[in-house]
Amino acid sequence: MKYEIVIGLETHVELATESKIFCSCGGHSNQEGPNTCVCPACCGMPGMLPVMNKRAVELAVMAGTMLNCQINKYTTFDKKSYYYPDLPCAYQITQWFHPICTNGCVEVKTASGSRKIGIKQIHMEEDAGKLVHDDWTDTSLVDFNRTSVPLIEIVSRPDFRSKEEVVAYLEMLKSTFRFAGISECEEGAMRCDVNISVRPEGSTELGVRTEIKNMSSLVSISRAIEYETARHIDAIERNTEVLVQETRRWDDIKGRTFSMRNKETAADYRYFPDPNLMPIVIDDEWFESIKAKMPMMAEEKAKIYVEQGISEEDARDLTSERKLCELLDKVAELGTSPKTVAAWILTDCAGILRKNGKVIGELSIKPQKLFDIISMVEKGTITRGAGKKVLAAVIEKDVEPEQYCRENALDAQTDSGLIASIVKKVIEQNQNAVKDYLGGKTKAFQALFGACMKELKGNGDPAVIRAELEKELAGKQ
């Protein structure tokens, strides 16, 4: 029999705010050491009151807009109660009754085509802390750096039919949110609960649903879906086990899922509206100002680059990182063609970073400096080779391009007298090549040219060398 997999996702995304959602601690969960980014509020000390971070609301609205959701004008916060050592107040502030965004949908593209995935809702909430187990003393330690970091939870409808769709959807979320600056989507900043059931193809009834909790790597998610699907089908076809609705945990090393103690699924979270947080009203004026601040989506931006003469592949690479687009736009604005800048970024900058074991996403260069290098090369003040050297020094040590050229004698040699004498010397020393050239082997010209450039340590003005060389060789014919 053929089976259909039915999957729904709950995706938690850490918002890229400067501070936590209800206090002024830095918003990033990846801090120096444990409990270095905490205050009485996010440690759950009595007497502190939550104060709403407006930026988190704005980022949630942006996310909702990008996923074609309805943005609710009236939204409230609720308390969810449960005991766990990583939850300092024994409650989590979340949105249960009136989430900020509802009823969205997105298109997901895979090799087998494009399908619409419904978004049930997006709600905001605070993250919990982390437990660290210390094997040496056999104790669990708690780190509150992550408590109260703002999250959105995107709840999809059970519209996925394959693991490929799930992966495509998550990749799309990642790139969209990264590009829009909604989330850094770093390791662990995007976590997923996967709800999965299996049914005979053509059936309209849903099978028994299991939920695999808290996965962050796409590879694990894909493997977990594969494993869980096979487990469900085995249970249906060969009665290997009785499927029950439950929460399971994925073990990446063993490559299988395990039932979690049913404690958590049976819990009653006793939701109720948080009296300390007034309802948030997103009026038209605020909504419009958020929309005005929203960056262009990556796809639109790529289209514009293609119109500006950048290849489709380069446009895609550039729009994978918002930073690259910002850099390119700023350099182009200073007076270079976008196409030229794109080549410098994707070829030269990327090459230098690669040599240093870094990726293009880590590029950090002041637009003015990149512009200075490009224009020196275009004006012929330095050669392209020298340009690369300056670029490397700028990326690695943030030097001043012009000063660096001067100090390292990188300025192109345009002194035709000097070049003429070198050309004469090279012709002397390479009689065979001269003979070849005169005999019709035009390639020999390139060898002579290279030898001249080498004498000039790569800094010769190519046009002048070429002219001198041609003049000299013409005299020999």
């Binding site: 440690c43 000390m45 009595p46 007497g47 009151l49 308390k79 006793r270 009296p275 300390n276």
Partner: protein
């Protein structure tokens, strides 16, 4: 039993209830479970008092989390006078040991304390005094108020602590408040709620009558009206108070601060034993009740309904204040609260909350003066101070 959990400076003139935080001073909230908890910051109200040039004499004892009648559930003992409960802060004010005390009113305890001790206490409009630095229980209704010997002093210190605070999301927008009277007592219409008068004892009823006489003599008009909603207010406030308190005191688990049981074998036992030993019976019953009204299947018929009743009571009282400047009601059923077996606390406190619930659930201001309670519409404290200042000068027994 001393009135103070911690004495800070004998020379100073202001007492602060032990449910309000002072930096580096232990704060117990009358509970064993918070024993040893030393906060890292001052409550906003305390900071304002200090900025105005006053010092804090010490932390006055309160009933556990301030949930009880008049401090009888404190783990650290209770204040009594001639065998009657009086409340530590009220006792200090009455004996002129301090000029004023800051007290958190979440279920009427300081109002009852003021009534039995003949002092003045105001619970201002919800949102006028920052709750930053208050041990949280019933967040949707609790307010810091001022206890002192006269309406004049009460007004003076309320003016100091009231005003917008960005650290409290429920803080109202006004930076400060002008409590000077705009309406003379002689021009006021004051009503009495029959249902509450009927529920009080003869001494309280007699006091109300002598206040009515004085008001009439002063030219104010008085009228008796029926507000059956007061019973709903009592029941609904019980639900909201218990639910919010249950949620807020869940954080005291013996792990991070306060009391921790000496012997435990795992985290579950650490939680259970610390809370079993650390919390008193009234808190425990409040927790059970609060968990129930929020649980699946009960939320709609209990908590959600209570929220809707709050709206109904609010509307009713707005109606009342459309016609009257203030409502005159008892602050409690009696002037003499005896100590009683604490397994009756939950029931006894509920009975007494009948008189205080209207102001607690609506967030409307209430003042206690000469042993009676006056409630006004939101932000109409000036009317309450006007009446109380005249009562201060009257022949009415205090």
């Amino acid at each position: 039993m001393s009135n103070y959990i911690t004495e800070i400076d004998q020379k100073c003139e202001i007492a602060v209830d032990d449910t309000i935080l002072i930096k580096d001073v232990e704060c117990t909230a009358g509970s064993r479970i918070l024993g040893g908890f030393v906060p890292l910051f001052d409550a906003e109200a305390v900071e304002r008092i200090k900025k105005a040039g006053y010092g804090i004499k010490g932390k006055t004892n309160v009933g556990e989390f301030g949930l009880d009648i008049i401090g009888e559930t404190s783990y650290y003992g209770e204040a009594q006078e001639n065998g009657n409960l009086i409340g530590a802060a009220a006792d200090e004010v009455k004996n002129r040991k301090v000029k004023a005390a800051l007290c958190v009113d979440l279920n009427g305890a300081p109002r009852r304390a003021a009534a039995v001790s003949g002092q003045t206490f105001i619970k201002p409009t919800y949102g006028t005094v920052s709750r930053y630095g208050v041990i949280p229980c019933a967040c949707s209704g609790e307010q810091i108020g001022v206890m002192s010997d006269s309406s004049e002093n009460t007004k003076k210190f309320l003016t100091i602590i009231a005003g917008r605070d960005d650290k409290d999301g429920t803080s109202l927008k006004n930076d400060s408040y002008d409590y000077e009277s705009k309406t003379e007592l002689s021009e006021m219409n004051i009503c009495l709620i029959k249902e509450l008068l009927d529920a009080a004892d003869e001494k309280v009823a007699a006091r109300i009558r002598s206040v009515v006489n004085f008001l009439e003599k002063s030219g104010a008009k008085t009228e008796y009206i029926s507000v059956p909603e007061v019973r709903y207010a009592q029941a609904a406030w019980q639900i909201l108070l218990a639910a919010e308190t249950c949620n807020n005191i869940s954080r005291y688990d013996g792990v991070k601060f306060g009391y921790r049981t000496p012997d435990y074998k795992d985290i579950d036992e650490l939680y259970i034993k610390s809370r079993t030993e650390g919390l008193g019976i009234l808190s425990k019953e409040t927790l059970i009740y609060g968990s129930d009204v929020l649980s699946k299947g009960r939320y709609d018929v209990c908590y959600d309904k209570a929220l809707r009743v709050r709206r109904v009571v609010m509307d009713k009282m707005k109606d009342v204040f459309g016609k009257y400047d203030a409502v005159l009601i008892p602050a409690g059923s009696t002037f003499e609260y005896k100590k009683y077996p604490l397994d009756k606390a939950f029931e006894n406190v509920y009975k007494e909350s009948l008189f205080t619930a209207v102001s607690s659930i609506t967030g409307m201001p209430a003042i206690v003066s000469c042993g009676v309670q006056l409630v006004a519409d939101h932000l109409n404290e000036s009317k309450l101070f006007e009446i109380a200042s005249k009562l201060d000068l009257s022949e009415v027994e205090k």
